[in-house]
Amino acid sequence: MLRLIENEVFKIIFKKRLLIVFGILLVLITAFAYGQDNSLNRTKARLAGRIGITASTDWKKLCEQQIIDLKNRLESPYGHEEDKPATRVRIEQLQYYLENNINPLDSSAAKFTTQFMEQSIFLFLPLLIIILAGDIVSGEAANGTIKLILTRNIPRWKVLLSKLAALLMLEIIVLLMAAVISAAVSGVFFGYGGWTAPVATGFRVIGDRLETLGVVNVPQWQYALMVYGLAYFVSIVVGTVSFMISVLVKSTSASIGVMMSALIGGNFLSHFMSDWKITRYLFMVNLRLTDYLAGSFQPVAGINMAFSVTVLSVWAVAALAISFVYFMRQDILV
């Protein structure tokens, strides 16, 4: 079995999939870090210009000013009604930071590494996983090599299981790459420290109020681990669903296409049809697990961490069941 997994990993590496993922990560993270540095400086400059102090000396004043700005926006008659709950949650969060002496404007490699994953978890990370998983079975069907591996003295389920195991292992590597590249690249802009700075987590959004009773402060590195742990969970789910599609369709481009449109479509749905109840059972809508940690406002009302994790787990288990049953029974006609 180990040798079978080794075979699969070997094939993925030789197809240069990991290299592609590495390239995409490097380019995107660099652009992201540069952009963040830029916009942070502008925010600081803007706020500092208005109240006449520098950010580094007194971040508390900046924070207070930000709260005032947000409150003004809340009371403005021109604001969109549906944006207001999110703004309210944001204000309360800033207030919490202020009371507990945590600087939200501070940036560091540690913070960037975490934030990058928080921003990628619902679309960018899944896309990378699809690049890896999309052709893992359909690729063999498309070039005919499936006949080669299914006519050995090895049962079909073992062949499929080794592919799945290889995929789950490579997902860890993708996350490690993302973490290392983020830390390395963003350190150039923000300095390499910040791993022990406190981060508040445990916010709960109830209706449009923020509940801060359960909030605890954890060091940044621990928070980053939690975020990457959730990201791995998301990778497993997206990976297995993508794996299933790869088993069901016979061409790599169809497999990747189906998954990409599902993901992007799902993100649309969660924005524009949040009152349509059934969308909350789609896996794409439940990928923003890290938002629960940070206490951001949820666009679809009434879902929480437990709900999302349950939905995602059900999807993963169902996808695996379908993959194995179909693969075991399928006639290979290619």
């Binding site: 030789f14 080669l148 006519t151 003295n153 090895i154 006639d331």
Partner: protein, 304 residues
Amino acid sequence: MQPPVLELVDLKKNIKNKEIIRGINLTLGPAEILGFLGPNGAGKTTTIRMIVGLIRPTAGSVKICGYSIADDFIRAMSNVGCIIESPEMYKFLSGMENLRQLSNMDKRITRQRVDEVVELVGLQKRIEDKVSTYSLGMRQRLGIAQALLCRPKLLILDEPVNGLDPAGITEFRNLIRRLAHEEEMAIFVSSHLLSEAQLMCDQVAIIRQGSIVKTATVKDILNTETVEWRLDNPVKAARLLKEKWGIEALRENGNTITAAVGENRLELINQVFVNEGIELRYSIPRQNTLEDMFLDLTEGDEIA
């Protein structure tokens, strides 16, 4: 008694309610080479896929060395090496890496065995190159190499000489015959090159519209002689053939008739014709080829 290497019992396959294979029975013993012949769409590849477990039969069974492919896949497939249609390999890997992938899947295959088969198919010089740079003939050789890795008792080859040059074909034929005779391998070859099958195989099975229409040894086919006569009274001659020897004659154009006669009877028949007052202009014995038989059997078929 040892079970036959390959045994097909009433094998059937329906795809979308259409009968593709309608009950195939076949046995193949050690050291036998069977040519599996048929026009396009007759069901050759479907049958082969059922033998190696890529397709599940609708009814009937496949047994390899006595193990059923449906119930005992692992033990059955431990005895099989195969190329199904064109030999697909991983193009982004080298020939050697391809073989390593496959040897990783079977504990019995040693590194030494891998080198051995590479030498057997004559690929030593290019084995470290990427498969994407191989010619069709070289891929074919690599395909044969991977099929031989596990020292199979049954070798299944689907159109193996496609893409080989004439020298390659001869070399391949010698290899196949050697494997059958020296290693007692049973070899199942599908082909549409009839002249090639005639040279390579001991027996042939001809499949047409999903059923086997004829099995015969190549020797028998070559020994059946047809004779063509040109004479003044073909009706009478045909009647005589039928009455005296029970031979059905075919009336061709004008004064020519042809009939399949057994060995050594031509002189006797001619003698009788002359005695009966038929004016005989000539009689020519013609040796049958596999191709003649094949065309006879599959005449007028359209691809289903």
